[in-house]
Amino acid sequence: MIRIDAARKQFGSTVALDGLSLDVRPGEIFGLLGPNGAGKSTTMALLTGLQTPDAGSVTVLGGDPRDPALRARIGLAPQSLALYEQLSGRENLTFFARMFGLRGERLKQRVDAALDFVQLADRQRDHAGTYSGGMQRRLNLAAAIVHEPELILLDEPTAGVDPQSRHALFENVLALKAAGRTIVYTTHYMEEVERLCDRVAIVDRGRVLAVDSVAGLLRMHAGVPVLVVERAGRSERIETADPLAELNRIAAAGPVEGFHVERPRLEQVFLHLTGRSLRD
């Protein structure tokens, strides 16, 4: 579905991509996880043909993403809310659908479907500028899928939205996957990747540091779970591959006042791979 091979992109003295490579398979939700400035948005720009690599190659849907016919099969929800606030939700979607060549009855059907999909049908006549942040994010997503693309690129789709809207967006993304779409999802929120993505690429300084399923990344890079035990008024942290056996061993030695297990998270993966926190 997507193949990026050793892509390099430089803006002035800033290296945005430094030999980035990745493969995305049909029908999966592929996460790009990394801090701001890691190169996620530049990668999205390569995938939509908005940028071309200085070196390396990019193949999307079997061709060059600069090909207009191929771009018609891609939907992009940019990180910024790429909407016209003075147009209604319906007018925004109608306009963007026309940009992708939709006309007549099919245009109307697709706009109706996209509005229903993001649950904005009841506010379709209102100007987008009057929507809440979460509603604007949903409209941003609707504009990306109104032409029924095979590949959907979601660049930080939940930035700045409330938990309720975030949950609604998650449901939308999972519904798109269920409908057979391929989704590339960039974020710096680990919990989103953990919840949604089939595979994740950890990106930093324009390079992919690791690619695998969340479980695989945790297994390979996050280390072992941590057993936290409270006894004799003190708290102890014990790294162990088998927390239950370790807890049994400690309990046999004396009374345990409390305990819990800290499972590895992607944060540890990122820390392990880069030596710094994802939120630094």
């Binding site: 720009a45 939509t48 043909g49 207009p68 992009l76 910024s80 940009m99």
Partner: protein, 424 residues
């Protein structure tokens, strides 16, 4: 084409929903035009044809006729010398010049003999309506003067005496017949009942007499002057309409990039050129609509009637193309609204100042006129004025039109080239 129209429609819709931008594109230019039209004299509230009056011989009859002309309500008459009168007609500042030549008074004293008094009318041949009106007024005044003199005993005695003196020039039998007629007329006019007859009744009894002859002389108007202050101020207002639309679309184009819609559009199966063409089309349509609105208001309310409607449309279209090109170039100069707006003002204000949008071209000193050739604003103003009151021929219109089209193509091409090469 579907996408191009959708792009243009979207931008026009956005402009119509932005009250501030709409005001500065449509409302503000009208206010500027009306305000400065009033400040610079407007049309002095008169729709009377303005004519010059030249009196070439001082005598009582001529002076009486001149005074009757000056007191007319239907004509605005200014008494000047012959050279001034000709110049004013040539400049289009007066519709016509009425010349009372040498001998006018003396001929007026002969009602039934000799040649009738002749009035020369110098006028622009294109002013057919004014010519008919002025000729009609002159004939009416001539008739009134003739019958006034018949009713005036001393004047009557004078023209009967001069008419009798001319009898010697006639054949004997005509001399006898006219002599009898003059005697009968004198006797009748000294009868009290007849002497009290009013002018209209007298005129009806003497139909067939020629009170005067109007001899027309055509004067070619080299360059018309503006018909009134609004003719100048509306052209300047049209510049503000173009500028308002230009600024709106500069802002709109930069905002597309800042808000991310540009990237969304670029991710669609459209070339950057198509997207910019859609923006340019919307800008062009808004500019033309704004100019047409001003033109209609100017003609309907303020008497700024174009010399040629097709040429005015040509001037509008070429000016809109030039300013659309300028819009594209100026939008490429900044990555933020502040930078692009600042650059647009910095470029447009000097162009406007030397281009005749602030100071009318016809009062500029020669060096400034020379400098103004570099400003596309000047050619927009010249084109619009050419079609409005300068009376340009089609050939004369070609210079501003060609320069404006070239400006639009070069600036638009350069701007589009720069924009498509800027990083997303």
């Amino acid at each position: 084409m579907n996408a191009l129209l959708a792009l243009a429609t979207k931008d026009i819709r956005l402009l119509l929903r932005n009250r501030g931008a709409l005001f500065f594109t449509m409302g503000w230019p009208l206010l500027v035009a009306v305000f400065f039209g009033l400040v610079f004299g407007g049309d002095s509230g008169s729709s009377r044809p303005k004519v010059a009056l030249v009196v070439q011989e001082q005598d009582a009859a001529t002076e009486r006729f001149a005074q009757s002309l000056l007191s007319l309500d239907t004509l605005e008459v200014e008494r000047v010398d012959a050279a001034t009168a000709e110049q004013r007609v040539r400049q289009g500042k007066r519709s016509a010049a009425i010349v009372l030549p040498v001998g006018f008074g003396e001929r007026s004293a002969r009602a039934f003999s000799g040649d009738p008094p002749t009035i020369e009318l110098w006028l622009d041949p294109s002013r057919k309506a004014e010519r008919a009106m002025v000729e009609g007024m002159l004939m009416k005044l001539g008739g009134e003067a003739m019958f006034a003199s018949i009713n005036d005993p001393s004047a009557r005695a004078q023209w009967l005496a001069s008419s009798r003196a001319d009898l010697d020039k006639l054949a004997p039998e005509s001399r006898q017949r006219f002599g009898d007629f003059y005697d009968a007329l004198d006797a009748m006019m000294t009868t009290p009942e007849v002497a009290g007859t009013d002018g209209d009744a007298a005129a009806s009894t003497a139909s067939g007499l020629t009170p005067l002859v109007v001899s027309a002389r055509e004067i070619t108007v080299a360059k018309r002057g503006p018909g009134n202050g609004f003719a100048v101020s509306f052209t300047q207002g049209m510049f503000w309409a173009l500028l308002g639309a230009l600024m709106s679309f500069v802002t709109s184009l930069v905002l597309e990039r800042m808000q991310g819609t540009w990237n969304r559009l670029r991710s669609a199966p459209l070339s950057a050129g198509s997207i910019l063409l859609g923006k340019a089309l919307a800008c062009f349509v808004v500019m033309c609509a704004s100019l047409l609105l001003m033109s209609v208001v100017g003609a309907a309310v303020f008497g700024v009637v174009p010399h040629s409607v097709p040429m005015l449309l040509l001037a509008f279209a070429s000016a809109a193309i030039a300013f659309t090109g300028l819009m594209m170039m100026l939008a490429s100069l900044g990555r933020s609204v502040q930078t692009a707006s600042g650059a647009a003002w910095a470029v447009m204000m000097p162009l406007a100042m030397v281009g005749g949008a602030m100071i009318p071209l016809f009062i500029m000193p020669p060096w400034m006129l020379q400098l103004s050739n570099l400003s596309p604003v000047k050619w927009a103003v010249i084109g619009i004025e050419g079609a409005t009151w300068r009376g340009f021929s089609f050939a004369e219109m070609m210079t501003p039109v060609a320069i404006l089209l070239a400006t639009g193509v070069v600036c638009g091409g350069l701007g589009a080239w720069r924009i498509t090469r800027q990083p997303n």
